[in-house]
C-alpha cells in the first residue's frame, strides 16, 4: 500500500510538473529581432545628454517577431520614458538596454529576461550609465557618466569604463584622460572601445577585462574624425561608423572597417557604393549585418539585412510607420568570447612599467632624435592636476623599469643628456594594482613583437615612484 501511495504521489507530481511546463516555453521564435524604435516625429525638447539625443523621449526597445511584414512586436521597455541600445546576451535569453524611468532621471542599464518578459535595473550610478556590453563570465561592462551635450570631451567629466558582476558593485576599469564610449567585447576577450583622445578625433583601444594592458588597437584616425559603434564581424574585421552630421539630431554616418590582421594599415569604406547614411549596424547570423540606415521618406530610418560586401542595401527588412528603426540585433545565442583570469592584485597600490627600449620609436628611422637617457614620469590624479612622480634612468640598452602608483593617468617624457624632452606621451595610460606592464618602445610602430633580449633594467634595483612624495615635492615647490 505504501509503495502504491508513493507511486501515486510521484505520478501526480510528475503530471503537475509536465503541466506546469506545457505551453510555458517562452523562448522567442527563431529570427526574432530586438529593435530600438524612436518616434519619427519626436517632440523637440532640449536634450540634456548624448543619450537624450540618441534616444529621444518615447524611444523604446521592442521585440520584432517574424515574419517581419506582419509587424508583430512586443515592447520590452514599457513604462520607461525612453530606452535604446539593446544588447543580446551570449545565450540569447536576456537583453540589456539603457533606459530612464522619467525624463529627468539618469540613464541606467536594464536587463530584460526574454522568457520572463520583465525588466529590472542593473545599475543605479550617479551620472548615469550607457553602452552596455557583456563579458563572457556574465559581468556587465558599461560607460559612466553619460556625457552631457555641452560637456562632451570635457576633462572634468570624463566617461570611464566600468564592470559590474551580477548583483555586485561597479568597479572602474579605466583611469586615463580618455573620453570613453561604445565598448564591445572582442572574440579574444578584450574590451574594444572608442577613446576620444583629442578634439574631433578618436582612437580604438583595447583593455583586458580587468583593466590591464590598455593598448591602441587601430590607427588614430585624424582624417576620419569621431568614430562610433565598433563591432567585430565574422570575417575578421572591425566595423564602425563615422558620423557625418552633428547638431540636434543624433548623427548618422558612413561605415568603415579595419582588418583584425592589419588594423593600423587597412582602413577602408565598408559599403563604398552606398550613399545612404547609417545609424547603426550589428553583426547577424551567416556573416550578414543588420543595418539601420536613412531612407528618402518617412520613416527616416529603416532596417536592412545586408552582406558586408553588398553593393546596395536592397529592400528594407522592416519599416514601421511613425517609428524610426534606430538599432537592431538578433535575439539568438551567439559565440561567447574567450574569458580571462584577472592578474590584478588589489592588495597592492602600485604596478610596474617596463619599456624594452625607449629609443625604439616609429620616428627614429626618419629623424636624428637624440637618445634618451632619463625618463620623467608624471601623473594626473585629477583633471588638470599634473605632478611629476620622478625620473628614472634609461639603461644602456634603452630599457627602463619603474614602480608607479596604480589607477592614475600616467605620462612620460624621454629626456636626452641635456634634460631636453625628445619624446612625450600625455597622461593617458595607467596600471592596475599589481600589473606588470611592458612595451617594446616609445611610440613604437604598432603590432610590434619584441626582440628577444634581456633588458638591463630588470637587473638593477627598481625605482619606486610615489604619488605622495610627488605631491609633497610639488607643495614645497609651490
Amino acid at each position: 500500500v505504501k509503495t502504491n501511495g508513493h507511486f501515486a504521489i510521484s505520478a501526480f507530481c510528475a503530471a503537475l510538473l509536465a503541466l506546469s511546463n506545457f505551453g510555458c516555453d517562452k523562448s522567442v521564435p527563431p529570427g526574432t529581432l530586438v529593435l530600438t524604435e524612436s518616434p519619427a516625429r519626436s517632440a523637440s525638447s532640449a536634450p540634456a545628454d548624448i543619450l537624450d539625443l540618441r534616444y529621444p523621449a518615447g524611444s523604446r526597445v521592442v521585440l520584432l517577431y517574424p515574419p517581419y511584414g506582419g509587424g508583430r512586436i512586443q515592447v520590452l521597455s514599457a513604462g520607461l520614458a525612453a530606452a535604446g541600445g539593446p544588447v543580446v546576451s551570449y545565450d540569447g535569453r536576456s537583453i540589456l538596454f539603457v533606459g530612464k524611468a522619467r525624463s529627468t532621471d539618469d540613464w541606467q542599464i536594464y536587463a530584460d529576461d526574454v522568457a520572463e518578459g520583465h525588466f529590472q535595473a542593473l545599475t543605479s550610478i550617479p551620472g548615469g550609465a550607457m553602452n552596455p556590453a557583456l563579458l563572457p563570465n556574465g559581468d556587465l561592462v558599461f560607460v559612466s557618466p553619460v556625457p552631457k551635450t555641452t560637456e562632451t570631451n570635457s576633462p572634468q567629466h570624463r566617461s570611464e569604463l566600468f564592470t559590474q558582476p551580477p548583483g555586485g558593485r561597479p568597479q572602474q576599469l579605466t583611469f586615463g584622460s580618455l573620453g570613453i564610449a561604445d565598448p564591445t567585447v572582442l572574440s579574444d576577450g578584450r574590451i574594444l572601445f572608442v577613446a576620444e583622445d583629442r578634439p574631433g578625433g578618436s582612437t580604438l583601444f583595447t583593455i583586458n577585462n580587468d583593466g590591464t594592458e590598455v593598448t591602441a588597437f587601430a590607427a588614430p584616425m585624424a582624417s576620419v574624425g569621431t568614430i562610433r559603434q565598433p563591432r567585430q564581424s565574422d570575417d575578421g574585421r572591425v566595423l564602425f561608423l563615422v558620423p557625418t552630421t552633428g547638431g540636434n539630431s543624433f548623427p548618422c554616418g558612413f561605415a568603415k572597417s579595419v582588418r583584425m590582421a592589419r588594423p593600423f594599415q587597412s582602413l577602408a569604406p565598408l559599403f563604398p557604393n552606398v550613399t545612404a547614411r547609417i545609424r547603426s549596424m550589428q553583426p547577424a547570423g551567416n556573416g550578414e549585418l543588420l543595418v539601420c540606415a536613412e531612407g528618402s521618406a518617412r520613416p527616416s530610418l529603416t532596417l536592412y539585412r545586408v552582406s558586408p560586401r553588398a553593393a546596395d542595401f536592397g529592400a528594407p527588412l522592416f519599416a514601421a510607420p511613425e517609428w524610426d528603426c534606430c538599432e537592431a540585433a538578433e535575439v539568438t545565442p551567439h559565440p561567447q568570447p574567450m574569458g580571462r583570469l584577472s592578474t590584478v592584485d588589489l592588495t597592492k597600490q602600485t604596478g610596474k612599467i617596463l619599456c624594452l627600449n625607449v629609443n625604439f620609436s616609429d620616428d627614429s628611422p626618419h629623424h636624428s632624435t637624440p637618445l634618451a637617457t632619463q625618463i620623467r614620469i608624471f601623473a594626473e590624479p585629477s583633471p588638470g592636476n599634473v605632478c611629476v612622480l620622478g625620473e628614472v634612468p634609461v639603461q644602456a640598452d634603452g630599457s627602463f623599469l619603474a614602480e608607479v602608483p596604480a589607477e592614475v593617468p600616467l605620462g612620460f617624457e624621454a629626456l636626452d643628456g641635456n634634460g631636453a624632452v625628445v619624446r612625450r606621451e600625455a597622461p593617458m595610460l595607467w596600471v592596475r594594482p599589481g600589473e606588470n606592464r611592458a612595451c617594446v618602445g616609445c611610440h613604437e610602430p604598432p603590432n610590434r613583437a619584441p626582440r628577444n633580449h634581456r633588458p638591463l633594467a630588470v637587473s638593477v634595483p627598481v625605482p619606486c615612484l610615489s604619488l605622495a612624495k610627488a605631491r609633497l615635492a610639488k607643495k614645497k615647490a609651490d
Binding site: 588594423p263 613583437a449 619584441p450 630588470v458
Partner: protein
C-alpha cells in the same frame, strides 16, 4: 567476556604507546635524519619508499592509434604513402579513391618517408629502431635495412653526380647519416645542430639542408639560436652551419624551384623578455626562415597576424612552380598558403634593415599570405602531388589525411586511417596538449614549449613575483608521473594544479582549461614515458665506466675513505627508482628547489633551476664549489666522467 575485552584494550593501548614512543623517539628522528627537511608536514614514507615504476601510468600499455607521420607521393601521383609510427606500419593509399590499399609492418616506429626518383623504393626512418628501412613499393615489403644514428626522423633522397644518396636526420644523436643507396651503406655521419628533424635537398641534388628543432646550448642569458646545417651529400660532410636567431622547433624544410631559397617554418621565441603579457607575440610567434642558398643570408618572416596567431608551424611544401608554399599550423588547425611571388616582391622593395626587422612586424603577413585552409586536429606533415594540383595534409590527431585541390583550395575528401581515438583519454589529452585554442589569440600550445612532451632547452622569465630576474629552466614532461610536486619551487601538488588556473593566469592569459579537458590533459602527460636512454648498450648492461660512475653515485665515502654526509650523497635526494625523493633542497644555486627526477637526464640540458649549467659536467665543475650539490670536490676528472657516464644511462 569482560576479561577478554580488557586484554584487548590493554594490547591496543600498548600498541598505541609503542607507536607513540616510536614516533617520538624513532619515527620523527628517522624522517628528520633521512629527509633533511625542517618542515616534516610534506614528508611521508612514499618520498623514499613504496615507489614502483611498473605501477606508474607510463609503464602501462596504452591504446595505439593510426596517427599519420611522414607522407610521400609516388612520381605518377597515384599513390600516397603514409608512415603510421604509433602502429609500426606504413600504409599505401589511392589518391583518387582516397582509400587505403594496403599496410605493411615496419618495426621501430616508422616516421619519415622518402621515395627514389622512379618511385620503386620507399625509404623509411624508424624512430625507435635507430635504423632506415627500404621497402619495395611493388610489394610494400621491407627489402633492406641499415643502422643509422639515434632516433632518425627524416630522410631525403637525392641524385648526385656520385650516385643516389640518402640524407637522414638523427634527432637524438644530433647527427646526420649520409648513405649511398646502392649499395646501401653509411658514407659518413657529420654532426648537426641540436635535434636535427627535417631534411631537404636542392633541386640539383648538390646540397642537403637539415633543420634542427632545438637551439644550440648557450649561456642562459644569451640570445639562443637553432641551426640549419648544410651538407654535401657526395662527400658526406658539413658545409655550413647557419644560425637562426631566437628561432627553434623547426620540423620541416623545403627547397623552392626557380629560387635559391630554402624555407623553414620556425617558432620565434622570446624567452629572455619577462613574460609580462602574451599579446603581440610577447612569448613567441610563428615565422618562416628564408635561407638564400646563393648568398647565405637568412630572413625571417612572420606567419601570424596582428590579432590572431597560428601556433606550432610544422610541415611545409612548395609547389613545382615555386610560386606557392603551404605551411601547416599544428596548434592552429590550419594550413597557411603563401604567395612566394608576393613575398619576393616585398623583399625586393624592402631595404636590408626592414628585412631584418620583418619578423617583428605582426601586420606584415597579409601582404603575402593569401589563404588559411582549415583542417581537423593537428595538421603536421604535408605532401604535394607531382603536378602540385593536390595537397595532402596529415591530420595527426584525427587519424586522417585531408586532400585539398590547390586551385580552389577546397577539400576533396579525406583518407581515413582510424577513428580519431576519441574514446581514449590519452588521445583526447594529447589533443588538448597540442591545441592553441585555449591560449589568448591562439598564440601557443603546451606543445610549443614541450615538443613531444619533452623540453625546448630554454629558460623563460616568468613575472609571477614581479618583473625581475626570474629565469626558470623548462623541465621535461617525460616520465613526470609520480614525481609530484611540480614547478621548480615544488609549490604545485599535482599536474591538475600545475596545468589548471596557474597555467591560465601565468601563460595562457585566458580562462583555465575546462575540468574535463584538464583531466584528459593530465592523463596524457602522465602517460608519457621517460626519454629513451641514449647511453645504454644493446643488452642493457652498464659499461665499466658507467659501473664506476654508478658506484660513485651510491658512494657513502669519498675515494680517500672519508664519510660523505648523508645529505650530500647523490642517492639521498636522487633516490631510485625515480631518482628523486620529491623534496626541496638547497644545492647552492640560490634557494630551495624541488628535486627533479633523473630519468632521461642525458637529453634535458641545460641543467639546474635556471638552466645555468649547460652540461652535466658543469653542474659540478662550475656550480658546486661548496659541495652543497653532493660532495664532488674529491673527484678527479676521470671520476667525474664516470659519474656523468652513469647519469646518462638513467
Amino acid at each position: 567476556m569482560r576479561k577478554r575485552t580488557l586484554v584487548m584494550l590493554v594490547v591496543l593501548a600498548s600498541f598505541a604507546a609503542v607507536g607513540l614512543w616510536l614516533k617520538q623517539n624513532y619515527w620523527t628522528d628517522h624522517l628528520l635524519r633521512m629527509s633533511h627537511q625542517k618542515d616534516l608536514a610534506k614528508v611521508s614514507c612514499s618520498n623514499c619508499h613504496l615507489v614502483r615504476t611498473a605501477r606508474l601510468p607510463w609503464a602501462k600499455a596504452r591504446p595505439r592509434h593510426d596517427s599519420p607521420a611522414g607522407l610521400a607521393v609516388s612520381p605518377d601521383g597515384k599513390r600516397v604513402y603514409i608512415a603510421l609510427d604509433d602502429r609500426d606500419e606504413v600504409a599505401e593509399a589511392d589518391t583518387v579513391s582516397l582509400r587505403v590499399l594496403r599496410r605493411a609492418k615496419v618495426a621501430g616506429r616508422p616516421f619519415g618517408l622518402a621515395l627514389d626518383k622512379e618511385g620503386k623504393q620507399l625509404f623509411v626512418t624508424c624512430r625507435d629502431g635507430d635504423r632506415l628501412a627500404v621497402l619495395d613499393t611493388q610489394t610494400l615489403q621491407e627489402t633492406a635495412t641499415i643502422s643509422v644514428g639515434m632516433s632518425p626522423v627524416a630522410v631525403a633522397f637525392c641524385r648526385t653526380v656520385a650516385g643516389d644518396r640518402l640524407v637522414v636526420a638523427n634527432s637524438m644523436s644530433d647527427d646526420i647519416s649520409v648513405l649511398s643507396v646502392s649499395p646501401l651503406q653509411e658514407l659518413g655521419r657529420p654532426a648537426a645542430g641540436r635535434e636535427p628533424f627535417a631534411v631537404a635537398v636542392t633541386p640539383d641534388g648538390s646540397r642537403a639542408f637539415v633543420a634542427n628543432r632545438m637551439v644550440r646550448l648557450v649561456s642562459v642569458k644569451t640570445v639562443p639560436a637553432s641551426e640549419i646545417t648544410e651538407i654535401d651529400p657526395v662527400k658526406a660532410r658539413t658545409v655550413t652551419r647557419e644560425a637562426l636567431e631566437s628561432a627553434h622547433l623547426s620540423e620541416a624544410i623545403c627547397a623552392v624551384v626557380g629560387r635559391s631559397w630554402m624555407l623553414t617554418p620556425l617558432v620565434k621565441v622570446r624567452n629572455l623578455v619577462p613574460i609580462t603579457q602574451v599579446a603581440n607575440g610577447w612569448v613567441m610567434s610563428s615565422g618562416l626562415a628564408i635561407s638564400d642558398v646563393a648568398t647565405g643570408k637568412v630572413i625571417q618572416m612572420p606567419l601570424d597576424e596582428a590579432n590572431d596567431f597560428f601556433a606550432d608551424p610544422s610541415g611545409i611544401v612548395v609547389d613545382p612552380s615555386g610560386k606557392r608554399a603551404y605551411v601547416a599550423s599544428g596548434g592552429g588547425d590550419v594550413v597557411t598558403v603563401l604567395d612566394l611571388d608576393l613575398m619576393a616582391s616585398w623583399l625586393a622593395k624592402a631595404d636590408a634593415a626592414t628585412r631584418q626587422e620583418a619578423i617583428y612586424d605582426l601586420s606584415l603577413s597579409p601582404q603575402y599570405i593569401t589563404a588559411r585552409i582549415p583542417t581537423q586536429r593537428n595538421p603536421k606533415q604535408l605532401a604535394l602531388s607531382p603536378d602540385g594540383g593536390t595537397l595532402f595534409i596529415a591530420e595527426r590527431l584525427q587519424d586522417s589525411i585531408l586532400v585539398v585541390d590547390t586551385k580552389s583550395l577546397a577539400a576533396q575528401g579525406r583518407i581515413v586511417l582510424g577513428d580519431g581515438g576519441l574514446n581514449d583519454p590519452i588521445r583526447r589529452g594529447e589533443r588538448v596538449f597540442t591545441t592553441a585554442g585555449y591560449t589568448f589569440q591562439h598564440q601557443f600550445s603546451c606543445r610549443s614549449c614541450h615538443p613531444d612532451g619533452h623540453v625546448d632547452g630554454l629558460s623563460y622569465d616568468f613575472d609571477t613575483t614581479g618583473i625581475g630576474d626570474n629565469l626558470l629552466d623548462n623541465r621535461s614532461l617525460l616520465g613526470v608521473a609520480g614525481t609530484e610536486p611540480f614547478k621548480w619551487s615544488g609549490k604545485n601538488p599535482s599536474l591538475e594544479v600545475q596545468c589548471g588556473p596557474r597555467f591560465a593566469k601565468v601563460l595562457m592569459r585566458t580562462d583555465p582549461i575546462p575540468e574535463k579537458e584538464l583531466l584528459d590533459l593530465t592523463t596524457f602527460i602522465k602517460s608519457l614515458p621517460p626519454q629513451r636512454v641514449m647511453a645504454r648498450s644493446a643488452d642493457g648492461k652498464l659499461t665499466s665506466t658507467q659501473e664506476r660512475g654508478r658506484a660513485i653515485f651510491f658512494a657513502t665515502k669519498t675515494s680517500t675513505g672519508k664519510e660523505i654526509p648523508h645529505e650530500r650523497r647523490c642517492s639521498t635526494c636522487h633516490r631510485p627508482p625515480l631518482y628523486s625523493v620529491r623534496l626541496p633542497f638547497e644545492v647552492g644555486s640560490g634557494g630551495m628547489f624541488d628535486t627533479p627526477h633523473l630519468l632521461g637526464l642525458a637529453d634535458t640540458a641545460p641543467y639546474l633551476h635556471d638552466g645555468r649549467a649547460l652540461s652535466l659536467e658543469e653542474i659540478w665543475t662550475l656550480y658546486n664549489t661548496n659541495d652543497l650539490h653532493g660532495v664532488t670536490s674529491y673527484m678527479n676528472k676521470i671520476q667525474l666522467n664516470d659519474l656523468v657516464a652513469f647519469l646518462k644511462t638513467l
